[in-house]
Symmetry: C2
Subunit: 357 residues, 2 copies
């Protein structure tokens, strides 16, 4: 309920809305603690109402504590039903988080002449991007589980293993320790495919001397984590070692710059400068990092274009990389918590290019 009160403060007191419609699945989970609702209507005056189809109705009543739970019957039109309630609540200016254009049109049609409707997802992100103590505990746990997966990667990856076999061992290790799901599709990209940041995971055999980018995440109570290491199956070459040290230094420098009030673009620049000075600026083809939480890609972005300053409670990735087409790629990534002074790593260890198996 604290989260809903904080949203009401932002939307109803600091702005002049008198209702908020939450339709995005992760936002519903954030405010209601329950993922299976079609939408959540928060009125200035009246009861917070979850709209739920029959398939999830009993679960919503059991788990959606403190909410009125409204059954949406098979033959009912959700937009019309919500619009009627908006009118009953006397809402005149309704904010919403996220709707497809077609759903927006349906809601707007239902509300015509009753209420104005305006997108305000930024207000929700202002809340979600600053994690509270409860969220941080879950994210710490998700980070620990992710490290269990990385341990399995370093133990299992060797020449002759297929990429998806390595993924199987990694995911199994995380699951056995209590991970709820993979935070995103596991990447085990070897050889020349490691030069593609989103190289996925195929049935290719990892060969002696291949660079292998392992980008994985566990989740716990819906909260996610994100971690990348790069290792070589067998003995790394001098060039591989040299590139590895550049990326590792870039990651360390950026991590050291993370703290409350740091400019996001300045943190990005710390890593980018190391890679540029080594002559690989053009090969660092993505931003330094992104927020993580209920979703794996959230605000704030750590990029050269970012206009944000970091806040204590942000959880972000720090993930510089160098990608050489035809040769391979190296990325090192941790999920870290921004604190008043400095930062805390939720993922840690395994800063080595050599497998331990």
């Amino acid at each position: 309920m604290n989260r809903i009160n904080a949203l009401k403060q932002k939307a109803f007191e600091e702005k002049d809305f008198d209702g908020f419609l939450i339709a995005d699945e992760a936002n519903i989970l954030y405010f209601a603690g329950f993922p299976g609702a079609a939408c959540l209507l928060i009125p200035r005056n009246g009861e917070n109402t979850l709209y739920v189809y029959g398939v999830n109705y009993e679960q919503a009543k059991a788990e959606g504590k403190g909410f009125r739970v409204e059954l949406v019957k098979r033959d009912e039109n959700l937009a019309a039903k919500v619009a009627a309630q908006v009118k009953d609540f006397g809402i005149k200016k309704l904010a919403f988080d996220m709707l497809t254009f077609e759903n927006y049109r349906n809601f707007a049609k239902g509300l015509r002449g009753k209420a104005r409707i305006k997108p305000q997802n930024k207000l929700v992100w202002e809340l979600r991007k600053v994690k509270d103590a409860e969220e941080l505990e879950l994210m710490r746990k998700a980070g620990q589980l992710t490290c269990e997966g990385m341990k399995a990667a370093y133990e299992f990856i060797r020449p002759g293993v297929k990429e998806y076999e390595a993924a199987a061992e990694i995911e199994y290790a995380m699951r056995r320790k209590g991970s709820w799901s993979t935070a995103f599709d596991t990447i085990v990209a070897s050889g020349v495919r490691s030069a593609f940041p989103h190289g996925g995971c195929t049935d290719m055999e990892i060969r002696e001397g291949d660079l292998v980018v392992v980008d994985i995440g566990a989740s716990y109570c819906y909260y996610r984590s994100d971690m990348t290491r790069t290792l070589v199956a067998g003995k790394p070459s001098e060039k591989q070692k040299r590139l590895y040290e550049i990326v590792k230094t870039a990651q360390q420098k950026a991590f050291q710059a993370v703290k409350e009030k740091a400019k996001a673009k300045a943190v990005d620049a710390m890593a980018r400068k190391v890679i540029e000075e080594a002559g690989y600026g053009e090969n660092f083809v993505h931003s330094l990092g992104h927020g993580v939480g209920l979703e794996v890609h959230e605000p704030p972005a750590l990029s050269p274009q970012s206009k944000e300053r970091l806040t204590a409670g942000n959880v972000v990735t720090i993930e510089p990389g160098i990608y050489l087409v035809g040769f391979g790629g190296i990325r090192i990534e941790d999920t870290v918590l921004v604190k008043e002074r400095g930062a805390e790593k939720f993922t840690n260890g395994f800063y080595t290019i050599e497998a331990i198996g």
Copy 2:
């Protein structure tokens, strides 16, 4: 390219559009064979163009065969860039698949005075819901992999095992055989939580006599599968066996009704009638099924409200269930291909309430 030509036929010949903007991730994958693009612009006259950020640019050039690949630089505005290209292509009436309201507004603003823009995702679904031979091979494979997971469930589930431990074994079995990822978050819901159709998977221990709903899916080359079985840890009670037989009969009857030109609601009714006549109509709280493909929930819906007729090439789930709050739930689900005469099961076997471990 056949898929793009089919879309052009529908949108440009049968309707009067002269451009199609594809922005939904699964749709991009469907038309381009590559998932990492920001959007795909298909003009009546001109080259099909993939818009790709730097992070995926090299991969798009390597894997996005037959497309012009346009790099979206960090400081460029995607909507403005696409709008300029729409103008260059001479597009006057642009269809799009799916955009958030805010993205729609950005595109519409960029196109003002140049082109009209209209949602037409239905045209894309008309194609995607009829799978071609290549897709069916991948979905057969996804179904086989899912059955490997179900075998693990029947072997591993016994009293004392935790739900997430069972999920770990199931997912590991699918992965080891070549599954790319779980098609959705694995459900292993035991005891009273089995009465929630989306009961998830917790750290609860499965107890002697518990109903356990196991709802799982493997994926292969991005194509998904969906399968549910319900089993009892230990010896099932008479009531559990009786309910099981009702659901099993309902599932068989519905399966027998699946064929080209069958009304979707008639197939739903076949299963619903069995459950209603047994006195549990109120406890079958969801539709009979849904389409499956690149996504786990696709058209066509098999529900009492559906107005569609099935077509050869549709791949749908058949999943009746009975859910008794405080007692538990039973669901039996297969992914099946609609054929000219009858149907083919992509998932099969394990129609028993007793574990085999």
